[in-house]
Amino acid sequence: MQVLCCDDDFERWRAQARHLLMQQVAPHAVVWADQAQPQLFANAPNADEQPAIVPALPPPRVSAQLLGELETAAQYRTPGRWNLLYRVLWRVVEGERHAGLAGDEDGSELQRRIKAVRREAHHLHAFVRFHPLTDHPWLDYVAWHECAHDVLASASMHFAERLGRQRWLIVSSRDAVWYDGHELHYRRTCPGEWASLAARARDSGDPLWETYYSSIFNPARLNPEVMQGHMPLRFWAGLPEGHLIAGLISRARTGAQKHGQTEALAGKSGKVIRSLQQHSTANRKAP
């Protein structure tokens, strides 16, 4: 049994896997150790540098699509994540072309991980909340966001497309990414200075957004299960609107919310527009 370590780095794993394929090492004869799952009998952490035992085959060729899928699935955080990837790769190289497809036992797991990673990238794009900084020398916006998978490096360029030349920083408890207006800088470990910048911005609310969120909600259609299905609880703490949710739900449930109007407007005096002339007067008075 070979025990390898790729430090959760796809390029490193790829080089190791390539080497193993050329040596015809079957998936059951190799295991990748990772921090979450250290191997009890890890004897040779640098096994990838061991000399070849059998005559090497020519470098294997696989489709760009499979390689892309493996790279995406590699971002899925789970103990022993690299072993499945090698098994799929091995089987495809051996001629089992369906090993990466959803109908296959390994392929189904691979596709499940890909789907979860894409979903997490989508969560990043959806639920990051940028806080503006004024007069900061190298930053316009800062956000704190926790990803469940390693998508911060691969999915953050989305924000450069959104925000043009503005400079922004996204910080998590593990890694961080900073865009300086031209280039993306990824840090596997978030620098302390970045973390404290983000922590300061984290708790600042935004009355306008909170007002909008409460007002666009239709209490007559209360359906919190659907909301939570799309917006998992773990993100709520990072959203300025997160702290409003429980109150909106309970007031819609217990109050006499028989129609859709926001409670902020209930009981406020209204304005009936009685005729065309009266209307145009009202209109001129309107701000």
């Binding site: 666009i216 007559a220 209360l222 304005k271």
Partner: protein, 404 residues
Amino acid sequence: MELIEKLTVLADAAKYDASCASSGAPKRSSKGKDGIGSTNGMGICHSYTPDGRCVSLLKILLTNFCLYDCQYCINRRSSDVPRARFTPEEVVTLTLDFYQRNYVSGLFLSSGIIQSPDYTMEQLIRVAKVLREEHQFRGYIHLKTIPEADPALIAEAGRYADRLSVNIELPSAESLVRLAPEKELISITGAMGTIDSASQESRFDKRAPAFAPGGQSTQMIVGADASDDSRILRTAETLYGQYRLRRVYYSAFSPIPNSPSSVPFQAPPLMREHRLYQADFLLRGYGFKVNELIGAQGNLPLDIDPKLAWALANRDLFPVDLNLAEPQVIARIPGIGVRSAQRIVDLRRLKRIRFDDVVRLRCVIEKAKPFMITSDYHPQQASLESSVLRRQLSDQPAQMALWG
């Protein structure tokens, strides 16, 4: 009035429009450019409110002052609601601020009718024009089109907006006469036609400026009049066919404060709206015709989805052999969608399809089981009567009404 008060009034006034989609726009990016905003065709839901609805755009009215007296609308002139009006500049600032904080992917702007349809439309266009030209905003813009406005204004709106929409409001012309006295079906469909021909023109003439590349949509209110689902779906099918609409939105009538006696006091079950969306999806994505899904009159069943209802009514077409059938036929099996059907076809090029393969594809296996054959499986339920099968497969009795 303070901005925050206006926002309270004008977001509340806008919530009855169901659409919040930011999809269908061409790919745009601000990377390395002045200005902000991008679109990639997919759309993003940045938040969800506790009603389960997606928040994708800043959805507001420019004003809820309105000359019209549409009975189902909270902003009708006879309604006793607080009124407010944004300046176009206020909307621009709010949009840019919300966009940069990543709360939204753009703006969905609508308005009550003030002074005249043309004046109102000009105000809406002004917001979009300032966003696009002065701020180089490349995010999503959806403008509600005032049907009675000059076609030249509609043409101008389409140059700035990704999507235009004209609300059909009600499924029948008679209901429109009764409940929306100032609106006319002919001006609504006329505006849809104007949008459609302008968008066809820009599609076929590459030199012509882009026109509402995200297409047009509309909204129909369900349960404000007595129209049944058959009527609603037939109206939708006509609109899809005649004006190439991207989407028809169905909005269950939501009771409004101080409701007039011309509209119901109770909302229709939300499940009815859900079943209409499911049927609509079958029309757009699966090649179903309305006639296959529903008779000349009546409503969709609430206890089972429309595809299952169709399959139960057409048992002679089932069970379908997954190793032999065309992908379109596989996609008509309840519990198996278009994507799963494609995956089954991809997989069977490499191996025979077995029961476990279908399970692994995460199809709704309980629903699919009675209707499919694999190399190792033949349904025992194939001989069961449809009525028995229906009882087995109907959705759990869920909370159907809003209150009761």
